[in-house]
Subunit: 340 residues, 2 copies
């Protein structure tokens, strides 16, 4: 019998809601029959969007939620007060085992807080990290933590390394993934206090393929599969990646339009160029999972379009089928036994 | 009477030494007569390089130094032991007032340590930051600190903001430069402990144009002129900037060569494209000054070519003519008086 993965999708979250989430859900169920999408949000609004499409109706269900958490709301207050919001209703379904995963392009803060308060941490996990895939010259790397827990300690970074390694091996399919710690030099005497505390712990960690420090310069080359860092650093890396790529691409487009000759050249070169640059487009790789929770929570970019939502849903299926949470639990029990 | 700026140049430092430093020195003195370059290093080696060029001989002098500090040497030991190295000899000239500035493409660690131990800090400056200019869509921004002092405290970041502001206004010529603090969100409740400690201090700082938090995504757009951050973060930003730019440009070149049609297009578009990308080439903007010392110390990239060395020498002239150190001293005295 086929396992069906049940994904709650926040139909009200993100800049393009409800149209992008609804279309993403439709695209996902039209592509695969091992998915059921539960669309959480305002029923009439969702119904109106759904009516535009043809799809296997038994694979999409609406879960009514009347409230919407806005981007600017203080996360803790929003999660506590808006009990009938799409985020709270959706996460409760995961908590109660009625769904396997929750996907949202809504408020990052509310998703991080809700993940911890509602879905809850796996026993033994100290801090659940946010871990997006970032494009590199060789494929993708997992950046962990990119924003969930600022001022983390060395023991947290070790868990990030372990969970990230499991994720890359089982969800992305990289055998024996190379794990590296973000540092400002290759030598062990380089780094801040956190890095100096973490390096020896990672070297002792027998169950991961730790390859040492990585300088940020080498991340885009794909020199490691799992890039471990504290959340402030990770967030700076992720956002600079986005900002610098889009600035450079716009500068290049300007350059291509600057002379008559270059305009003709650009017209000829553009199709091939677009194909290459697509490989550097983060939206191809789905959303960022918040790892270490009792269920999967995936944060997609606020500006997500249907394709990113669809890919995030696919990501949940692999996560579920590979039983990543089961594997994380085993890991944590093993590590704790070793400590005793 | 014209002021002549005396710059000691480390002829032995960097991947392209001695040819790049010597050529950079020659190019600098051929372009301007208000510069004297003191080439520190092995006399015969320098002499041989110099013999290749024609230049006003009274503007270049060789300062013999028999030893060379290698990139891999532990900096503190190297500075203490190699008394006759180009770095130690050169920095002593600045310390003794026989030169105004020291420029090197050699070991960053040795330059940072030598700057503090030999040239020494301006009284009242707690930590001298390394502050390179980085290219943006609108021009350049100063990234301060990008690697000199990891684990800095809020009071250090305030001094970075003040010194960076002075530098951008007087050396780069940006009136009333916008100063921003690197953060992971625009709201004041975002950030790590250091950022939360620093934000209110910067807001109170009446003598700078503090515009609040900046997310790394907005740095390449040129949304601030002075980008203040702790050294670990700054180093990650600087190196990712370099790494991502070069990876994207190589990916784009690959894309342009991928089909016959795109190859023809590329040939037509390349001259215009190269011109645009040159604006994003950090080597155009000289080296990174180590601010707050009794004299100017400039670290240029290890892979510096003659053009970067020449531009770093020009940078020293502006720094000297604008009396940046005099202005930093005034600032510090003012701030200390305010505190009393």
């Amino acid at each position: 019998m086929q396992t069906v993965t049940r994904v709650v999708l926040d139909a009200m979250g993100g800049d393009n809601a409800p149209s992008a989430p609804v279309q993403g859900a439709v695209d996902a169920v039209n592509a695969r029959n091992d998915i059921k999408v539960l669309l959480a949000g305002q029923e009439d609004v969702i119904r109106e969007e759904l009516n535009k499409y043809t799809y296997p109706e038994e694979q999409i269900e609406i879960v009514p939620a009347t409230e919407v958490i806005e981007m600017a709301e203080p996360p803790v207050v929003a999660i506590r007060k808006k009990k009938d919001s799409s985020i709270v209703v959706g996460m409760n379904l995961v908590k109660n085992g009625e769904a396997d995963a929750f996907v949202s392009a809504g408020s990052s803060g509310a998703i991080l807080v809700g993940g911890q308060l509602i879905v809850g941490r796996i026993k033994g996990i100290k801090r659940p990290p946010l871990a997006p895939l970032i494009p590199t010259k060789k494929g993708v790397s997992l950046l962990i933590d990119c924003g969930a827990n600022v001022d983390a300690r060395a023991e947290h970074l070790v868990q990030f390394a372990q969970m990230g390694s499991l994720y890359m091996e089982n969800v992305v399919g990289i055998k024996n993934p190379r794990v590296a710690l973000v540092n400002i030099g290759a030598e062990d005497e380089k780094g801040n206090a956190l890095v100096k505390d973490t390096l020896p712990l990672l070297r002792e960690c027998g169950d991961i393929n730790f390859v040492g420090s990585i300088e940020s310069r080498d991340i885009p080359q794909g020199d490691a599969d799992v890039i471990v860092c504290e959340a402030f650093t990770g967030n700076v890396i992720l956002k600079l990646y986005e900002g610098l790529s889009s600035t450079l691409i716009s500068v290049i487009k300007q350059g291509l339009k600057s002379t008559f000759r270059s305009k003709i050249g650009a017209a000829l070169a553009l199709p091939a160029l677009k194909k290459t640059l697509k490989a550097f487009d983060a939206s191809e790789y789905g959303g960022a999972p918040l790892l270490g929770l009792n269920g999967l929570v995936v944060k997609t970019h606020g500006s997500s379009k249907a394709v990113e939502i669809r890919n995030s849903i696919f990501q949940c299926v692999t996560f579920n089928q590979q039983d990543i949470n089961g594997k994380i639990k085993e890991y944590i029990i093993d590590s704790q036994n070793e400590e005793e």
